[in-house]
């Protein structure tokens, strides 16, 4: 079902549930994996994915279609993730970069969490070491293959700043993987 058709059906109380069910089915995997890459833990990702769709339900009626439905849902999911991570930081009095370190520790404690070869695992650890917002920018560009304009809709950041952030993220990742390989 196309986004416009979902929105039209959602506006009609008689077909609202059906339309929303279709929306969840259409976007659930993308939202889940976007959230999961940010918080790593499945249980946290499950909670945040559900919270995202509950917020979509509450606000979809007022969605003005200035942006696409796709980027609007991503914006809600992204805000949920960033709020979750900053709440976690406040709760445990963690400095800015230590949420990444905690996620890294979670991955290292359970080898089954990451799959792929040695280089892939180093890449994943390098991504987790990025600050939250830079990791978000990297994920949207590298994994979601979004345009910078779409990323600007999601993050509320200018295209120029996003380009610079992504460029720095790639450099940091390459440097980390190369350093790790040199130490092996």
């Amino acid at each position: 079902m196309e986004d416009q058709e979902i929105l039209t059906k959602f506006a009609d109380p008689a077909s609202r549930n059906l339309a929303f069910n279709q929306l969840v089915r259409k976007y659930q995997q993308r939202v889940y994996w976007h959230v999961r890459k940010m918080v790593v833990d499945h249980q946290d990702a499950d909670d945040l994915t559900q919270d995202t769709f509950v917020k979509v339900w509450k606000h979809l009626e007022n969605f003005r279609q200035d942006a696409s439905l796709y980027t609007w849902i991503y914006r809600i999911a992204t805000n949920e993730c960033l709020n979750f991570l900053s709440a976690k930081r406040r709760k445990f009095f963690l400095p800015l970069n230590d949420v990444g370190a905690e996620l890294l520790a979670k991955v290292e404690a359970d080898p089954g969490v990451l799959s792929g070869d040695e280089v892939e695992q180093k890449l994943q650890k390098a991504i987790l070491r990025l600050p939250d917002k830079q990791r978000l920018v990297f994920n949207l560009k590298y994994y979601e293959d979004m345009t910078y304009e779409q990323m600007a809709d999601v993050t509320g950041t200018s295209v120029g700043a996003l380009k610079a952030s992504y460029h720095h993220a790639v450099k940091k990742i390459e440097q980390y993987v190369n350093n790790q390989s040199a130490n092996d």
Binding site: Y32, E120, E174, V177
Partner: protein, 146 residues
């Protein structure tokens, strides 16, 4: 010598994290729908109550409480008095009770009996007016009886 790692040369894997439990994406829409639907426990007949402003709801609750208290008080009061209950007892049973027990019946009570219920006195005393008069004359003429 190893070639330096370059992200552009590395094959992109969309999901390097472990997948969610089996069947997760089949169940997720239903779980989300459960969260967004109104809870069925809310009785539609009383839903108007939830829409009332808080002060009005408080006033309504207080009125109901006081009304209930007053109603229970009114209903707990017995409508029959002691004399009405006693009047319902047949007279013959009353007399039998008085004769069979050691009930303390004063002479004044007995003196009232012929006047209030002459037939009862005649039926139970089996005395002629002369006998009654003699019995009365035999009583000491104490002021307390007069």
């Amino acid at each position: 010598m190893n070639t330096p790692f370059r992200l552009d040369d590395h094959p992109r894997r969309l999901h390097s994290l472990a997948p969610p439990p089996a069947g997760y994406f089949e169940q997720l829409p239903r779980r989300v729908m459960d969260r967004v639907q109104p809870t069925p426990t809310e009785a539609p007949a009383l839903s108007w109550l939830a829409r009332l402003p808080l002060p009005l709801r408080t006033a309504l609750a207080s009125t109901l409480l006081l009304g209930g208290f007053a109603a229970s008080l009114i209903l707990s009061v017995t409508p029959t008095s002691a004399s009405a209950t006693l009047a319902a007892v047949p007279q013959e049973q009353l007399v039998q009770y008085l004769l069979a027990n050691d009930a303390r019946v004063t002479l004044a009570d007995l003196a009232d009996l012929p006047a209030s219920a002459p037939t009862t006195a005649a039926a139970y005393l089996h005395a002629s007016p002369e006998e009654l008069q003699r019995a009365l004359d035999a009583q000491p003429t104490d002021d307390s009886y007069l």
